[in-house]
Symmetry: C2
């Protein structure tokens, strides 16, 4: 049995939803009538997007999760994905654990692996993910309107807190670290919320590079500005809620520019507040209203008294620090 066959063993299963899966030059997908196919892709490199010491099962989970998060932000239902994998060596224990983490999340979302590519090289993972969304129903970055509420799902900043702890720049109590580490290593894509928000949200984006940076994309593409409540936003750091004492500036940095959150930021008319809360309750994903969309361009973070905080919150940039 050749090395390729060893790899194939971990990543080949019969296709169930797709007309043709792994094993030919192409896979075949068949979106249902009236559906568009949503497509996204993410490339993860060791040392840049994950630590070399990460548990391979969690890495398998996260590699797919960050892609499913893009489908969630469009309100698309996961259908299938491809996996390109560069491996420095063939390590069966690693492959078994990685594929197990990948399959568990894929199965939870009914998303099947239909193809891929494998080669030897520095550890790199590229997934392209495919989902279905009714024509015209996708949540876009361009639909926010002045007067809309600004919402965020779940919690923000804890993934970055865990990363800072790994890097030694902060010391955390074990229970706080364990919880934050789960947010960093096992993010839960908000697929159910994205589906529930179709027809309610006017725009959405997944928060992967830091809230303010990602929110900036909505503002730019919608031609609007926003006012964000710093106190509401700061409440989104789970570690702070759990009692970790941190300076306000530090909390704001984590929440506004932490990165790796994989939550949804979205806008909806004020008239849709109960619909948003009901969607949130239905899928068990908490949401918090943290601001409002304004006609005036720019992003204003305001304190409890409504004064603009002049401080600059650095965005997350894979080509930056």
């Amino acid at each position: 049995m050749g090395e390729f066959d060893l790899i194939a063993r971990y990543f080949t299963r019969p296709a169930r939803r797709s007309p043709l899966g792994v094993g030919d030059d192409c896979a075949l997908l068949q979106p249902r009538a009236g559906m568009q196919l949503a497509v996204s892709t993410d490339l993860l490199l060791e040392g840049r997007h994950f630590l070399s010491t990460v548990d391979p099962g969690r890495l398998g989970h996260k590699a797919l999760a960050v892609n499913l998060s893009d489908l969630a932000a469009c309100g698309a239902e996961p259908l299938a994905f491809t996996l390109s994998l560069a491996l420095p060596r063939i390590d069966q224990a690693w492959l078994a654990a990685f594929s197990q983490g990948l399959w568990a999340l894929a199965d939870a979302h009914g998303c099947e692996l239909v193809g891929g590519d494998t080669t030897r090289g520095p550890l790199a993972i590229n997934i392209a993910v495919f989902g279905e969304v009714p024509a015209g129903a996708a949540l876009l970055r361009s639909g926010a309107r002045a007067g809309d509420d600004l919402w965020v799902s779940g919690t923000l900043g804890d993934a970055r807190l865990a990363l800072d702890a790994f890097r030694g720049s902060v010391s955390l109590p074990q229970d706080v670290f364990d919880a934050a580490r789960l947010r960093l290593e096992v993010p839960q894509p908000r697929v159910a919320l994205g589906l529930a928000l179709r027809g309610i949200a006017t725009s959405a984006i997944d928060v992967s590079d830091g809230l303010l940076g990602d929110l900036g994309h909505i503002l730019a593409q919608s031609g609007v500005g926003a006012r964000v409540d710093a106190v509401e936003a700061a409440s989104l750091l789970a570690a702070a809620k759990a009692g970790l004492a941190l300076a306000t500036d530090r909390i704001e940095d984590l929440v506004f520019a932490g990165g790796d959150d994989y939550e949804l930021a979205f806008t909806a008319p004020a008239s849709a507040r109960s619909a948003v809360r009901s969607a949130s309750a239905r899928c068990g994903t908490p949401v918090t209203r943290i601001g409002v969309i304004e006609a005036q361009a720019g992003l204003r973070v305001v304190d409890a008294a409504g004064h603009v905080i002049p401080r600059r919150f650095a965005g997350f940039d894979h080509f930056g620090a």
Copy 2:
């Protein structure tokens, strides 16, 4: 302007065929009614799939070409692609040349870039490509039947000859080297031939890892064997046709196991010979009949007298040599 904006400048164009292109969490594709979406992906790494000295424009071409070749092998019409790019640094001259090579081939096939991801890291290129094919019409690896003719498009082995010259293991006259180098660096995906073979070919595969290895996939998935005429096959090395003197064994190694050819190997009933030749003529892609599919499992290479050549031809393996 941030570094990301610099990169985006080279890879952002308005979508024309797709409902939504670059710039949101997902792109949106809309296959026409009755069409399936063919999907394939290839990961190219510096030093493994291309030399670090390769011209970036040619690299841009090849990165897309190897993916279009997979669509060709399925008889799918190119529609769109995503590009994931890891770059060690932001080099504008490199990006300009790379994107120019990429766009030229994309435009030639009406295939538009709809999304991607960029990060800093060792040079790596992952493309996922999407094409349309009428439901049930895709050319698969599994349809070869005993008695079918075995065909190959274009020429084989010259890309590997150029690679051997780069590596210094063979010395070539300049004109032979130049021609072989074009085959290595600027492969032409046989998209038109793949489309023309729909309804004619019973199976197809793109020859990327060496003819015999790739043909082996057709045989395995179709549950058949094949007899390949060594003399016909050896005639497929363009360099030999052009007068390069090489030992027969060496020619056979190049043709049978060279790799990086991006031609189509396909099967069709003997009754379809004129249809195959007519398809070949219509799209200006020569084809050569090099063997026959047999019920007996296994792959037999035979000499001019019809005797099986007992020699083993090594397949190309990205995890091998």
